[in-house]
Symmetry: C2
Subunit: 239 residues, 2 copies
DNA sequence: CAAACCAATCTGGTTAACCAATTTCAGAAG
DNA sequence: CTTCTGAAATTGGTTAACCAGATTGGTTTG
């Protein structure tokens, strides 16, 4: 267990090292957008790492849109300019794993928007899925069972109905961590869950009636009680 | 060029196919959190795909927190419950590439929050970086040069100062696409850029003075002019 | 009978060999 | 001298072999 964690962070460290090396290389050689990076074999030898490690790092930078590799041709620098790229690389290198507080903060931010967009854009199909999610949640709660998952599914369904792929993706990214932390800290007891039924229904109704302002209001309320339970305080500003 | 694109989307398609297969397997075998998936070799044979393709798919699901693979042991189902997992898998399978509109929408959402948090939490170090970014932007614009990159760097610096890793990451993810699209559609002309100097400075001052409300207001103004130029309309609601 | 042990086996991860498409450039053709 | 050609070298991607650690099941031992 301990060992596994060590090797994983170790692995991340060498990946960051590789990215730092690539950054240096680009800066040193004054590589510009469209220029080709040296081949993977050459770089892996130069940096003293395995080709697969190097490939992973390149793929990460590809994910962030900084590099761009073409089969049988080479890895190229994306068309975003040297200055922006250097800034991004610095950020990527300094980024750390988000804590629970960051996650919740981001989740609230996203959901106050997705619920608004969902009210504006929801299709009848979206509405059907939302209803199913809400029913599954209610059934589970009334049976006295834990319904964290069903809760999250309802919220994910809202994200889907928002019609914004980016926000949907971001919600998906933070959801598992949220679930894990909620279960770890036993955030939702049964009273809270029962209250949740009503709140969910009100949110659903607002989306159904295509009333974005009301939907946002109801979501605020939903999060406020959650916050109160979670932190035993209500001094956290939501806006 | 054409071929490359085809193979890339093709590659994504088989990855989605694999994920769909995994989903079916989990459902069919009623696998629960903590259960072990069959070995990679077995699955690759069963699905009729190469092991490397399968590994990529697994890594993607690991990114979304659904799976969890331990070296020399196996790939395990994360602790998020069957129902939530199935819903997430469905979302992952249906997700499409975000369009420009989604990106801008999400960017505005994120930035109206990061600028507020930055005003609340910025350190002196953050302030220094922000000042440098703003100066670089001004220098470039006054020289009559394109300054899209410097613009974005200022905004990324705000995200960093917000102290929220999630939002910082998300900004990094959408930034390259934004840059590409801005340059493609020639969003920023020189008049716009000159106006941007003042707007940036006002945002900076609000952050420096730790006035979150004002910072948000100034950011709104910044985006409004951007929107007007971008879409030749001002009927888009920002809130 | 239960606990300790050990070797055979299975695991994800890593490395090296291979592939097909691309690029390059010497040299032939005009 | 320029242009075309085609074979060799180079490229990222893919496959197969290999590795070290974990698991497992039977055997031994107290």
């Amino acid at each position: 267990m301990k060992l596994e964690i060590i090797t994983k962070t170790e692995n991340q460290d060498i990946q960051k090292g590789i990215i730092a090396n690539i950054r240096e290389l680009i800066s040193y050689k004054n590589l510009e957008p469209g220029d080709k990076l040296p081949s993977e074999r050459m770089l892996s030898e130069k940096f003293g790492v395995s080709r697969s490690n190097l490939r992973e790092a390149i793929q990460k930078l590809e994910f962030y849109g900084i590099l761009n590799s073409k089969p049988q041709s080479g890895t190229f620098i994306a068309n975003i300019g040297a200055i922006a790229m250097d800034g991004m690389l610095e950020d990527i290198l300094r980024l750390e794993e988000p804590g629970f507080k960051s996650l919740v903060e981001t989740r609230i931010l996203l959901e106050l928007k997705t619920v608004r967009l969902a009210a504006l854009r929801r299709t009848d199909e979206d509405l059907k899925v939302l209803k199913e999610a809400i029913d599954a949640y209610e059934t589970k709660v009334r049976a006295g069972k834990d319904a964290v998952q069903e809760d999250l599914l309802f919220h994910l369904a809202i994200a889907r109905a928002s019609g914004n792929s980016s926000m949907n993706t971001f919600m998906l990214i933070i959801t598992p961590e949220i679930i894990t932390n909620f279960e770890k800290y036993h955030v939702c007891d049964s009273n809270q869950s029962l209250l949740g039924i009503q709140e969910h229904t009100e949110i659903y109704n607002a989306i159904r009636d295509q009333n974005p302002q009301l939907a946002k209001e109801k979501m605020k309320i939903h999060f406020k009680t959650l916050y109160q339970y979670c932190y035993h305080t209500d001094d956290i500003k939501i806006d």
